[in-house]
């Protein structure tokens, strides 16, 4: 029924010409989606839960997939706010490949970070090469000059014991683990981990375990020698950020952005439980790791930031509905710890799906914002697939995937009048042209970074 091989399946129920023909035969009414908040302190809440269906109205008797977006947005902080204190471990690669400009710039970036911290904050600095060294054990940041002197004394040597470095970083953060602080490990590496566990999978599991304790690991890859899969897994599984700095010059900017992120955290220990109607199946969460168990989806986020939305995109399989009927598609319960008030807050939301005979209305009610996000995330998945194909040496297939991805993105950009999708499409087009060996290392790192940024709504 669909000639475009990568056309997302949801288009079967929303927006193809075939469906228009079919929809013309139907009559229907639409019911609005409902959302309510159960939080008692609704007016003060720093986090807003918003659930949206890409297609709140569907054509009757048309089983298929729908896209369901769950968004959590931190309220902007008032100008006079005091940021939450942070508990940061900076884990620096000091292997011999860091010699020269790189270690210099890394030291500068770390010193810049120290300057931004105060006595409320906890800092530890771990340096690793063949062996790991806790150069500054977790301490409140009062002696700025001394700390900076220690950082400036770091000289490169040896190989890359990344696992030990991260392990020690986590251990230092755990010493002052406190829900009222923002707990984070910032890992900087320019090389392949070559001492200790080094598979992306193993490091990913370490990240996931850190996330269970509320510790996010942000990873910064420097140069073209690091393992982006490993660094990304570590960030993704712990809900941290991932950045790619081609040269040391970018480190200061990245550290500043990371610190900006850290200091705008409004909520932590965020968990989401989404229960769908027994007739509906939760197929998967497109952009994050989650426990997907038939009619229930459980996932957690490490933190929410002021003025920024973190979203979870679900793919649901819905049954055919008779015209005019509705079903309570999903119930969402969210809970988070407010870092300022030190209380756990909750919010819940219900979403209904209604079958309408009025296909025009089905079309009109389609939520462009959700659809744009869904298209972007689906295209992101294809982008990842292209990298996998390229890794296998199937260059042409990878190129084809990216080209059709471009078509898909541009088509939807037009449809939803989204400049974001347009630029995304253009980026995919550029990706398709940059798969040759000469550029591949850098290209792959750039793509991986972008993929992570998109899935996790990274602010920088």
């Amino acid at each position: 029924m669909n000639s475009n091989p990568i056309k997302p399946p949801y288009l079967r129920s929303a927006g193809t010409r075939g469906l228009f023909v079919f929809a013309c035969l139907l009559l229907g009414t639409a019911a609005a989606i409902g959302q309510e908040r159960s939080s008692e302190k609704a007016s003060e809440a720093r986090v807003t839960l918003k659930t949206q269906l890409g297609t709140p109205l569907v054509a009757p008797n048309q089983p298929g997939k729908v896209y369901y977006k769950v968004g959590l947005t931190g309220a902007p902080l008032p100008p006079s706010h005091r940021r939450a204190p942070v508990n940061v471990s900076v884990v620096l690669d000091r292997s011999s490949s860091m010699s020269g400009d790189r270690i210099e710039k890394a030291r500068e970036a770390a010193c810049m970070l120290i300057d931004q911290l105060g006595p409320e904050d906890i800092l530890s600095i771990v340096a690793y090469d063949s062996v790991v060294e806790v150069v500054v054990a977790a301490v409140p940041v009062t002696q700025h000059a001394e700390l900076k002197a220690i950082v400036r004394g770091l000289e490169p040597r040896g190989t890359t014991a990344l696992f030990a470095g991260v392990s020690r970083g986590i251990q230092e953060v755990e010493k002052f683990l406190d829900p009222k602080r923002v707990n984070r490990v910032i890992l900087l590496s320019d090389g392949q981990a070559n001492v200790g566990p080094r598979s992306p999978n193993e490091l990913g599991r370490l990240g996931a375990a850190a996330a269970k304790r509320g510790i996010a690991i942000s990873t910064v890859g420097l140069g073209l020698g690091y393992n982006e899969d490993l660094m990304m897994q570590l960030a993704a599984k712990s809900d941290g950020n991932h950045a790619f700095a081609e040269s040391g010059d970018e480190l200061a900017r990245i550290f500043r952005a990371e610190l900006g992120d850290l200091t705008t955290v409004v909520a932590q220990e965020v968990s989401l439980r989404i229960q769908v109607d027994p007739r509906v199946t939760a197929i998967r969460v497109l952009n994050r790791d989650a426990e997907v168990r038939g009619h229930e989806v459980i996932l957690s986020l490490n933190q929410l930031y002021a003025g920024q939305e973190k979203l979870v995109m679900l793919e649901l399989d819905v049954p055919g509905l008779t015209a005019g009927s509705s079903l309570e598609l999903a119930r969402v319960e969210a809970s988070w710890a407010d870092v300022f008030l030190q209380v756990t807050e909750r919010a819940s939301s219900r979403t209904e799906l209604v079958a309408s005979r009025d296909l025009g209305e089905v079309e009109r009610k389609t939520d462009a914002e959700v659809m744009v996000a869904a298209v972007e995330i689906l295209a992101n998945e294809k982008n990842r697939q292209a990298v996998a194909l390229r890794d296998e040496g199937r260059l042409q297939e990878a190129q084809q995937v990216l080209q059709s991805n471009t078509g898909y993105l541009l088509e939807n950009a037009k449809k939803y009048k989204s400049p974001k999708l347009k630029s995304s499409g253009e980026m995919n087009e550029a990706d398709a042209e940059a798969l040759d060996d000469a550029n591949w290392n850098k290209q792959r790192k750039t793509m991986r970074k972008r993929q992570h940024e998109l899935d996790y709504q990274q602010s920088y």
């Binding site: 030990a164 392990s167 200790g196 193993e202 375990a209 304790r213 229930e296």
Partner: protein
């Protein structure tokens, strides 16, 4: 001759030093070995302490898992919340007494749960024979997707989880799956079921890393090696090669026994062990040096003494030479005195004594001079043709008065009529020495016989006495310089000890030989053999 001696001495010193060096090296090697063993013991002890730290991590893990699983609530929701919130928990299963899986069960499993059920199936289905794997087995299995569970705490091999649970309330079981060791904490449930918690391996390792020392805390290198032989964690200042040999190795206590700790000493540490050989080398060098000094001193001292002795000999020779002139005069005037004394018997007897004694003194001086000019400096002999018997007779007549004065009977049996070529003075000196010896040592026999024979071109002159004779063992040694068969003064014998030496030398220089023979009478027999004139000529011609 002297340079030979020096060489010999140096060789001796060299050999001595060599032997001592070998001995020293051997000893110091032994000591090095001992130090090495002690160091190894130390390293081993250190690794054992580290194992205790690892065990502490394990105990902590065990305690927290026991605490976690102590709630009676076994609802899937609770079990899943463990997975969600506890970093140590990767997944959880629960089986009843009949090994039926109670959790995770049902149609709605997450992907992780489905994988977990598959990965642990053989364990909860009681099919797995739990045993401790041998290292080789582990290495072979870790590569492939295999499921050989192994039990590593306190149970004999060949057990299933159910039989383990029948014996104790909780424990650990490890098995290999894909990337390596997986650890399962199990606890007996009410009603005979078992709850199994898969420990997050990477978190366990991360905690181990946190508990073990870090950085440059060690002079050598300590590595934590996993079952595949890969370094999971390391510390210490020494940047060891991956193939570097470990000094000490310690397997961690179960259930972490797939990990080993290895101690690799730095080259500086190794050099420190070998360094104990330095005092040995220094001691040896000092000894060798002092030996050399000592020997050099000895050689110089000996040379100095030799030079002094030469001077003395020179002096004696000079003096002896100077004595010859007055002695000749004494003898001349004594002989002249014979006519002047006339029939005065007493005076004649006195004159005879003076004559004998001056002759004896002459022989003595002759011997001293001959002896002092031995070797290449010797006066050349002047060989003349002479009649041996005449020569013998003349010497015998010279001695006759002295001999008869001492009660000797002199018997001559001379049958060597043919002439021979010899230095008459030398022949006289030899015969004089032989007779002088008879006079000195053979007095007890009161008889001396001189025979001469010629046969086969050899003239043999024998001087025989009936004194105590020369023991067979000494018959060659008496020809050595300054050798005296008896040093006892009470024997009454006197002499310089060079008479026989120079006599034999003179005999040999004349192409003959002087030997001491066995005498039938029991006394001493000296035989002088000289080539006859013809034979000498023949010999010279040849």
């Amino acid at each position: 001759m002297r340079s030979n001696l020096t060489t010999l001495l140096f060789a001796l010193v060299a050999i001595t030093i060599g032997v001592m060096v070998l001995l020293g090296v051997h000893l110091s090697r032994g000591e090095e070995k001992m130090v090495r063993v002690r160091f190894q013991e130390l390293a081993q002890g250190r690794l054992r302490d580290l194992d205790t730290s690892a065990l502490a991590v394990m105990n902590e893990v065990e305690r927290s898992l026991l605490e976690l699983s102590s709630t009676p609530d076994r609802s899937p929701e609770t079990l899943r919340s463990w997975v969600r919130t506890n970093p140590l928990v990767r997944q959880v299963f629960r089986v009843d007494a009949q090994s039926r899986l109670l959790h995770p069960a049902g149609p709605d499993l997450s992907e992780d749960e489905r994988e977990f059920v598959q990965r642990t199936e053989s364990i909860w289905k009681q099919q797995a024979v739990l045993h401790a794997p041998a290292p080789a087995e582990v290495a072979g299995l870790s590569k492939s997707r295999s499921r050989v569970p192994s039990l590593s705490r306190g149970a004999p091999s060949g057990d299933s989880l159910g039989s383990l649970a029948a014996r104790s309330a909780h424990g650990f079981v490890s098995w290999y799956w894909e990337e390596g060791l997986h650890l399962l904490f199990w606890r007996r449930d009410e009603g005979g079921g078992v709850i199994g918690v898969e420990v997050e391996r990477i978190v366990l390792l991360s905690r181990l890393v946190g508990k073990l020392p870090a950085g440059l805390d060690e002079e050598g290198r300590v590595t934590l090696v996993d079952a595949r032989g890969e370094v999971a964690y390391q510390w210490g200042a020494y940047e060891a090669d991956e193939s570097a040999a470990a000094f000490a190795e310690q397997r961690l206590s179960p259930p972490l026994d797939s990990f080993r700790l290895r101690y690799i000493p730095s080259p500086a540490q190794l050099a420190g062990l070998a360094g104990s050989g330095l005092p040995w080398a220094m001691g040896l060098s000092a000894l060798a040096l002092s030996l050399l000094v000592l020997f050099t001193y000895a050689i110089r001292e000996q040379r100095r003494e030799l030079a002094e002795a030469e001077k003395r000999v020179g002096f004696v020779t000079q003096v002896s030479h100077e004595l010859k002139t007055p002695l000749t005069n004494i003898r001349l005037y004594t002989e002249l005195l014979e006519d002047a004394l006339g029939e005065n018997e007493k005076a004649e007897r006195h004159r005879q004594v003076i004559l004998e004694e001056s002759e004896r003194l002459g022989r003595l001086i002759g011997n001293v001079l001959t002896f002092s000019r031995r070797g290449p400096d010797a006066h050349p002999l002047r060989a003349r043709t002479l009649m041996p018997d005449e020569q013998v007779k003349r010497v015998a007549e010279q001695f006759r008065p002295a001999l008869s004065g001492r009660g000797f009977e002199l018997e001559l049996d001379l049958q060597a009529p043919a002439p021979l070529r010899a230095d008459p003075d030398a022949l006289e000196q030899v015969l004089g020495n032989l007779l002088s010896n008879v006079e000195k040592y053979g007095a007890a026999g009161r008889w001396v016989g001189i025979r001469s024979r010629q046969e086969g071109g050899v003239t043999r002159i024998t001087v025989e006495d009936r004194g105590p004779g020369v023991p067979a063992a000494l018959r060659e040694r008496i020809f050595e310089p300054f050798f005296r068969a008896s040093d006892k003064l009470e024997d009454g014998a006197t002499g310089t000890g060079i008479g026989l030496t120079i006599s034999r030398e003179l005999a040999r220089r004349m192409g003959g030989e002087l030997l001491c023979r066995d005498a039938r009478s029991g006394g001493a027999v000296f035989e002088l053999a000289l080539p006859s004139e013809d034979a000498t000529h023949q010999g010279e011609r040849a």
